[in-house]
C-alpha cells in the first residue's frame, strides 16, 4: 500500500540530523536494527537455535503416568474430578447432538471428539472472566463456566430460549456476555485480530487491567487466513494481553496440516512476531493446564500476547456436512482413538491417584447421559422464538425506514396468505405464539 505522509513529518530537520550524526559515529551500523554483523554467508530456516523441530511440552505419558522430571500443575481431587467430568461431558453431548442432526432435528453440528483435553484443560486454567473468542469447537469452555446444557441445546435448536443468537445462527454458534464468551462467527480467523482489540481494551479498564486476558481459540487451518497474521502482529506491536490458542487437530475439513503449511507448525510463527510461544501436547490435559496458566501469567505480567500450539487430533468428522472417510482411512482414526485418547489418559492418572474407579465411571456416564437427554428433550419441545425476532438486532438505536417498511410488507403478506399458503402455514406453527406477534 502506498501512503504518502505529509512532508513536514518525513523531512523534520531534527530527525535528519539525528540520523546523520548516528551514521557518523557508528559507521556500518544497520538502520533500525541491532542485528549483529557476520561475514559468513548463512541462511536459516528454524526458530529453535539448534535447527531442530520445536519440542512439545507434556507431563503425562500415554497411560497417564507423569514423565520423569515433569512438574504437575496444582491439582487436587476435586479439581481433577471436575476436569475429568467435563471432559466426559463433551463426547456425551456430541454423540447425542450428532444423532439429533442426523434425524433432521437440528440443521448442523460440529463435534470436538479428540480435543477434550485442549478445550477443558485451557478452560480450567483460565479465570472465569477472561474474555474468550472462540472458533466453533469451544462449547466446552462455556460448559466449564457453568453455562448449562439447557442453554447449549436451546441455541442448537434455535428455540425461544436461545439467548445466544435468538434463533439467528447455526448450531454451536454460541455467545454469552455473562460468561465472557464472544459471539461465534462462521468465517474463520476473524476473531484473531479482534482478540488483540479485546485485550487492549482490558488493559484500559482499571478494574481488569493486570487481571483479565483475552483467550482466542482457532484451528491450524484458520491460522492460514490473513487475519491470523494481522491479529498476532497487532497484539504484539500494540502490546495486548491476548492468549492465542491454536488447536492443531491435523485437519481443515479434508486438508491435512501437511498441506496447510510447510513450516514448523503454528508455533514457529510466534517468534516472528516477538511473541512468547509454546507447543504443548493437546491430549495431555495437565500439560495444557500448566501451559495456559503460565501463558496467562506472562500475558498479564508483560501486558503482551502469548501463543500456544496444542497438538491434537480431530477424531470426528469436520461437521455433520462432512464424511471424513472420503479422505482418511477409518483405521487411522480408530488407531488414534486407541493410541492416544485424552480422556483415557487422564482417567488412568486419576485412578493412579486413587481419585477415580470403575464405579465412579459408570455413575458419571449414566448421569451425563441422563442430563444431556433431559436437556435435549426439553429443547426439542419448545417452539422457535417469536417471528418478529427476524427483524430485531440489525441496528441499535432508531430503526431505519427500509426495515420498518419491509417488516410491514411481510406483516401484510402473512395476514393475507399466512392461513392459506401451505408452506407458510406449516412454518408459522413452529414459532412462539404462532407468529401472532408479527401478524397482529
Amino acid at each position: 500500500m502506498i501512503r504518502s505522509a505529509p512532508s513536514s513529518i518525513v523531512f523534520r530537520a531534527g530527525q535528519v540530523r539525528r540520523i546523520a550524526s548516528a551514521a557518523g559515529k557508528d559507521y556500518g551500523r544497520l538502520p533500525h536494527s541491532n542485528s549483529p554483523i557476520v561475514s559468513k554467508l548463512k541462511f536459516f530456516n528454524a526458530v529453535s537455535g539448534d535447527g531442530n523441530t520445536i519440542p512439545t511440552y507434556r507431563v503425562l505419558d500415554g497411560v497417564g503416568k507423569p514423565l520423569e522430571g515433569a512438574e504437575l500443575p496444582e491439582i487436587d481431587r476435586a479439581l481433577a474430578r471436575k476436569v475429568y467430568e467435563h471432559m466426559q461431558l463433551l463426547p456425551t453431548l456430541d454423540t447425542v447432538l450428532y444423532n439429533v442432526q442426523r434425524q433432521g432435528k437440528i440443521s448442523f453440528y460440529v463435534s470436538l471428539h479428540g480435543e477434550e483435553a485442549t478445550i477443558i484443560g485451557s478452560a480450567a486454567a483460565l479465570e472465569l472472566d477472561d474474555e474468550v473468542l472462540g472458533q466453533y469447537r469451544e462449547t466446552g469452555v462455556l460448559l466449564w463456566r457453568g453455562y448449562g446444557l439447557d442453554n447449549v441445546m436451546a441455541q442448537c435448536f434455535g428455540n425461544e430460549e436461545d439467548t445466544a443468537s435468538k434463533g439467528k445462527q447455526m448450531p454451536v454458534h454460541l455467545s454469552s456476555p455473562k460468561y465472557h464468551f464472544h459471539t461465534i462467527s462462521s468465517p474463520l480467523a476473524t476473531q484473531i485480530p479482534q482478540a488483540a482489540g479485546v485485550a487492549y481494551a482490558l488493559r484500559r479498564i482499571p478494574s481488569r487491567r493486570s487481571r483479565s486476558i483475552a483467550a482466542c481459540y482457532f484451528g491450524e487451518g484458520a491460522a492460514s487466513e490473513g487475519d491470523f497474521h494481522a491479529g498476532l502482529l497487532m497484539a504484539s506491536t500494540i502490546p495486548s494481553p491476548a492468549l492465542f490458542i491454536a488447536r492443531n487437530n491435523g485437519f481443515a475439513i479434508s486438508t491435512p496440516s501437511s498441506e496447510q503449511f510447510y513450516g514448523d507448525g503454528i508455533a514457529s510463527r510466534g517468534p516472528g512476531y516477538g511473541i512468547h510461544t509454546i507447543r504443548v501436547d493437546g491430549n495431555d490435559v495437565l500439560a495444557v493446564m500448566s501451559a495456559v496458566k503460565e501463558a496467562r501469567k506472562r500475558c498479564l505480567e508483560e501486558g503482551r500476547a502469548v501463543l500456544i500450539e496444542a497438538m491434537t487430533y480431530r477424531v470426528g468428522h469436520h461437521s455433520t456436512s462432512d464424511d471424513s472417510f472420503a479422505y482418511r482411512a477409518r483405521a487411522e482414526v480408530e488407531d488414534w482413538k486407541k493410541i492416544d485418547n485424552p480422556i483415557t489418559r487422564f482417567r488412568l492418572f486419576l485412578e493412579s491417584q486413587g481419585w477415580w474407579d470403575a464405579q465412579a465411571e459408570e455413575e458419571l456416564k449414566d448421569r451425563l447421559k441422563a442430563d444431556v437427554m433431559k436437556a435435549f428433550k426439553r429443547a426439542e419441545s419448545l417452539p422457535k422464538p417469536e417471528l418478529k425476532e427476524l427483524f430485531t438486532d440489525v441496528y441499535g438505536g432508531e430503526e431505519p425506514w427500509n426495515l420498518k417498511e419491509q417488516r410491514a410488507e411481510l406483516q401484510g403478506l402473512l395476514r393475507k396468505y399466512g392461513n392459506e399458503w401451505e408452506p407458510w402455514k406449516a412454518e408459522i406453527g413452529r414459532f412462539r405464539n404462532k407468529a401472532r406477534d408479527l401478524i397482529d
Partner: protein
C-alpha cells in the same frame, strides 16, 4: 469452514409441480407443504432430452468455426448430469485442452465439499489440481499471479460468503490490472468459482448472494448459471473469456438440477440473458435459484390452488409473462431486458440478496430511464429483506413463489 448439508437439502426439496404455465391449463395440485424450494427436479426449464439439450439457444461448439453451417447437432451425444457434474465436466475439458490450466482451492483435491472437482486430481495430477491453504486472499492473489503469466487459473472459493478476504485482490487487482497497465498486462485467464445463494438452512454465512458487491468493479465479469447445461457452457465461456470472471454457482442446484448435457466442448455467451418463456404482459427477470421459484409462481398465477384463488383475479390468470434468466450480472444484457419491457410495459425483478443496493436496484434504475414512457407500473423488486439471513427465519427472508406471484398480481393490476 462449515459446510451446508446439500445432500439433505436436495432430498427434502419438495416434489414438483409438473407443468409450466402455458403448458398447463387444467389439472392443478396445490404445492405440498414443507418447503419454499422450487420444483427443480421436475422443472420444464430443464432440458431432459438429447435433442432439447443440443438445441440450447446460443450454444457454440468449440469444434465449429464460422465457415461451415452453424449448429450441427447430428452425431453429438449428451449425458445425464447434475450441476456439480456439469461443472466438473467443464473443468475436465479445460484441463484436457489447455496445458496451462490449473484448478485449486480449499479441499479441491479430494473432490471439493460440493464434489465439483471429484476425480480431477487423480486424472490430471496434483500439480494441476491441488489443495491450497485456507486463505481466500491467497487463493485469489495466486490465481492473479498465474493469469499474469498467461496461464489459465480456475480457483475455487469454498462459499461465496467467504470471498470477502479476497475482495481486495479481486476488486483492486484482478479488475484493474488491465486498465492500470494500459493494457500491457491482464488476468483474463482467471476464473473464480464459488457456491452461492441459500439452501434453506444455512444461516448468516452459508446463504448470501454477493453478486452485487462485484457489480461496480469495472473490468470483472460476474456470471450465475441456472442449470447443468448453463453451468458447463457458461463456465467454459468464463474460463476462455479474456477477462477475470466471478462464477457464482447456486449451491441448492448442484444436486437437484439435472439435465442431459452435451458431452462435447461448447460454450454459452457471457453478457447475454436468455428468454425462457415469451410473454406480452409483464417481464419477470431473475437469475440462479429463483428461476425455479419464478416458474412455480407462473404456475400459481395461471392455476392457483383453491386456497389462493381469491387472491388471484380471474382476469389476470391468462396474463402472459415473459420470464428472463439474466445469467450475466456484469455486464448485464440491457438490450434484452429493455426490448422486453418496452413490449410488456411491466418489470418484476427477483433476487435473493437484500433489496438495498442489490443488483435489482441498478437494473430498475436503468430500465426506468430507458422505458419510462412505456411503463404501466413501477418496476417491482422481490428480494431478500435487508437483513442477515437468520437461520430459523429463512423461509420468511428468502423470496419464494408466493411473494413472486403476489408481486406479479400487484404489478399487473397497478
Amino acid at each position: 469452514m462449515l459446510t451446508a448439508n446439500i445432500k439433505r437439502s436436495a432430498r427434502t426439496a419438495r416434489k414438483a409441480i409438473s407443468h409450466i404455465v402455458r403448458c398447463n391449463s387444467s389439472a392443478v395440485e396445490p404445492p405440498p407443504a414443507g418447503g419454499h424450494l422450487p420444483s427443480v427436479s421436475n422443472s420444464q426449464l430443464l432440458r431432459s432430452t438429447r435433442d432439447a439439450a443440443l438445441r440450447s439457444p446460443g450454444i457454440r461448439w468449440a469444434d465449429e468455426d464460422d465457415s461451415g453451417p452453424a449448429n450441427i447437432v447430428g452425431g453429438r451425444e449428451t449425458r445425464k448430469m447434475n450441476t456439480y457434474q456439469a461443472v466438473r465436466d467443464a473443468m475436465s475439458i479445460a484441463l484436457m485442452k489447455d496445458d496451462t490450466a490449473v484448478v485449486f482451492g480449499e479441499d479441491v483435491a479430494f473432490g471439493g465439499v460440493f464434489r465439483c472437482t471429484m476425480g480431477l486430481a487423480e486424472e490430471f495430477g496434483r500439480e494441476r489440481v491441488f489443495n491450497t491453504p485456507l486463505t481466500e486472499q491467497g487463493i485469489a492473489g495466486f490465481g492473479i499471479g498465474m493469469a499474469l503469466m498467461g496461464h489459465t487459473a480456475i480457483a475455487e472459493i469454498q462459499f461465496s460468503d467467504y470471498i470477502f478476504p479476497a475482495f481486495d485482490q479481486i476488486v483492486n487487482e484482478a479488475a484493474k490490472v488491465r486498465y492500470r497497465s494500459g493494457g500491457s498486462y491482464n488476468v483474463g485467464g482467471l476464473t473464480i468459482r464459488t457456491p452461492t445463494m441459500s439452501v434453506g438452512h444455512g444461516g448468516l454465512y452459508h446463504s448470501q448472494s454477493p453478486e452485487a458487491f462485484f457489480m461496480g468493479a469495472a473490468g470483472l465479469k460476474v456470471v450465475i448459471p441456472r442449470s447443468p447445461i448453463q453451468a458447463k457452457g457458461l463456465l467454459l465461456g468464463a474460463i476462455r473469456d479474456p477477462n477475470p470472471v466471478i462464477f457464482l454457482e447456486p449451491k441448492i442446484l448442484y444436486r437437484s438440477a439435472v439435465e442431459q448435457v452435451p458431452i462435447d466442448d461448447f460454450s454459452l455467451p457471457l453478457g447475454s440473458a436468455e428468454t425462457l418463456a415469451p410473454g406480452n404482459d409483464c417481464t419477470l427477470l431473475t437469475w440462479g435459484t429463483p428461476v425455479y421459484h419464478c416458474e412455480t409462481a407462473l404456475h400459481l398465477l395461471a392455476s392457483p390452488p383453491p386456497s389462493l384463488e381469491k387472491h388471484i383475479p380471474t382476469s389476470l390468470r391468462s396474463a402472459s409473462i415473459e420470464l428472463i434468466d439474466l445469467r450475466s450480472i456484469l455486464p448485464w444484457d440491457v438490450q434484452t431486458v429493455e426490448e422486453s419491457v418496452k413490449r410488456t410495459g411491466r418489470l418484476v425483478i427477483v433476487h435473493e440478496a437484500g433489496m438495498t443496493a442489490g443488483a435489482g436496484a441498478e437494473i430498475s434504475a436503468e430500465i426506468q430511464k430507458r422505458c419510462f414512457l412505456k411503463l404501466n407500473a413501477p418496476v417491482s423488486r422481490v428480494t431478500g429483506w435487508d437483513l442477515p439471513v437468520g437461520l430459523q427465519f429463512e423461509k420468511f427472508i428468502i423470496p419464494d413463489a408466493l411473494r413472486i406471484v403476489d408481486a406479479l398480481v400487484k404489478t399487473l393490476s397497478y
